[in-house]
Amino acid sequence: MPELTLTLRHRRAGAPLRELGDYERAGGYAALKRALANLEADEVLYQLHRSGLRGRGGAGFPMGRKASFLPKDAPLRKYLVCNADESEPGTFKDREIMEMDPFELLEGMALAGYAIGAQRGYIYIRGEYNHHAEVLASAIVQARRGGYLGEEIARSRYSFDITLYRGAGAYICGEETALLESLEGKRGQPRLKPPFPAVAGLYASPTLINNVETLASVPTIIERGADWYAALGTEKSPGTKVFSVSGHVLRPGNYEVVLGETTLRELVFEMAGGLRPGRRFKACWPGGSSVPVLAEQHLDTPLDYESLNAAGTFLGSGGCIVMDDSGCIVRASLRLAHFYRHESCGKCTPCREGTGWLERILQRMVDGEGRMEDLALLEALFGRIGGKCLCALADGAVAPIQSALRLFRDEFVRVVEEGSPRPEPMVEAAVAAGA
């Protein structure tokens, strides 16, 4: 199936939409103006609910439902927070949205803010995205000047402004409660839930937190109508989703597709250009590095939440990492284990200690010093790490390794016996292909 670019609006326009005038000419801010003139806040909330839009950051929780958890009559201020801490290995969709369609995010935030009755929104952007933060900062200034942020926006009685807040390098700050801690000026460590942020979030106030892509999808939903949006895709996976494809493919990049209409095979072999000549597909982490890995027999899985669940994995962030038969699954698992050990915040013992164990065991296997008992040791560890912590980081560390051991057990055995030689790099082939 072809791409359908709704959220990656600049691709339809054929140029970056970093100037307010360009965004308006591409249909931008029509949704906000119409909503503020004609719709009550509850009606906007209802549209979000009815659209079925699910959180695009990784968890896939329905946005409208999440927003409806905010207490209606609380005396406290309400906040909207945009999670722009995109750090999941293999994921770079929010980067493109913020760099190319910054106003779409700002408009989506104004609409979501109106729906929940927030007057202030925060964009928490990872420190490494400095260039993208500058693009957003310029867009915020332009939006204020154009009357789309600040007092009584778009000639309505609704006031809403946005603060850009920069992180300083920590994957865990993409976890929503760790993000709130960081935004409150603390070390970015997750909180015990409940209470959930909808009840006690930023500064203990009711807070809605959504990912960049989720919020950037909102203007299209309000503009075209929730029913139109919900009719795209499947019943449980409506709308479009941006997949970031990376690894051993010839055309890595972002591809926006209608959920359920495209298979993993089409994404990898048609959109992303397939593999180098003579290479064979081996493995794929379809939703970022924290999801169970898939193998060749899963290539015909449609890309939507329920089909990927049925295949034993998650849609996650849509960061699709592809590995061909030149790659070693144990070496790949080790690299992921290293990441989670480095990024564990250290608050929960099973994660702090367990991610280190995973890395050390896999390291000795790759070094040719593994023991057959290590396979059983890994299996015993999975259940002692996963599901035992305050946040999902440890689950994300376990899932890709546990699934790899299940699907590629023979290779683990071989690596224990022989070690894992370093594979050839791909960069020259990639450059030759113009990637």
Partner: protein
């Protein structure tokens, strides 16, 4: 950097935060712009400007990878080492840079020009293997030859006006 200088940066932001503790990261990031890393004096200045204790400020600062509590080079080269970049040759790239610069990952060259470090996913997997200079936009795909040209360019370049890491 002095507490007064930090205050001129964070004071205009105060109304945007219900709790002033939120100013700590903007203050730390701003203080780091001067030298590219933070000294104990800087941490004390941040503490004074934000009405927090130096111990608290240090506790927060140590949590974040991009706040440096030791001197680093004029150009911090962050080479992404996560899986998508590994599949496209980041291990060869970092070996090459170690060789050229004569430092291990995490090391700083004797002339103080370069710090080489491993980065955890830069969000530039479509440009893998990706590399970031300070907090500039990510570069890639980076071949060893391109890495050599990058080093050459940075050796000739004037020091940045501010160190954004």
């Amino acid at each position: 950097m002095t507490a007064a200088e930090i205050r001129t940066h964070i004071d205009p932001m105060r109304p945007e935060f219900a709790d002033q503790r939120s100013l700590i990261l903007p203050a730390l990031r701003f203080a780091q712009r001067e030298k590219g890393y933070l000294t104990l004096d800087d941490l004390e200045a941040v503490a004074e400007a934000t009405d927090l204790t130096p111990a608290y400020v240090e506790g927060v600062a140590t949590f974040y990878d991009r706040l440096y509590l030791r001197p680093v080079g004029r150009w911090v080269l962050s080479v992404c080492v996560t899986l998508p970049c590994m599949l496209r040759g980041c291990d060869e790239l970092i070996d090459h840079l170690c060789d050229r610069l004569g430092v291990p990952p995490g090391g700083t060259t004797e002339d103080g020009l370069f710090t080489l470090q491993e980065a955890q996913c830069l969000g530039a997997c479509d440009r893998a293997p990706a590399i970031q200079v300070n907090a500039e936009d990510m570069l890639g795909p980076t071949t060893p030859e391109e890495a050599d040209r990058l080093l050459e360019r940075l050796r000739e370049a004037p020091a940045p006006d501010a160190y954004v890491r």
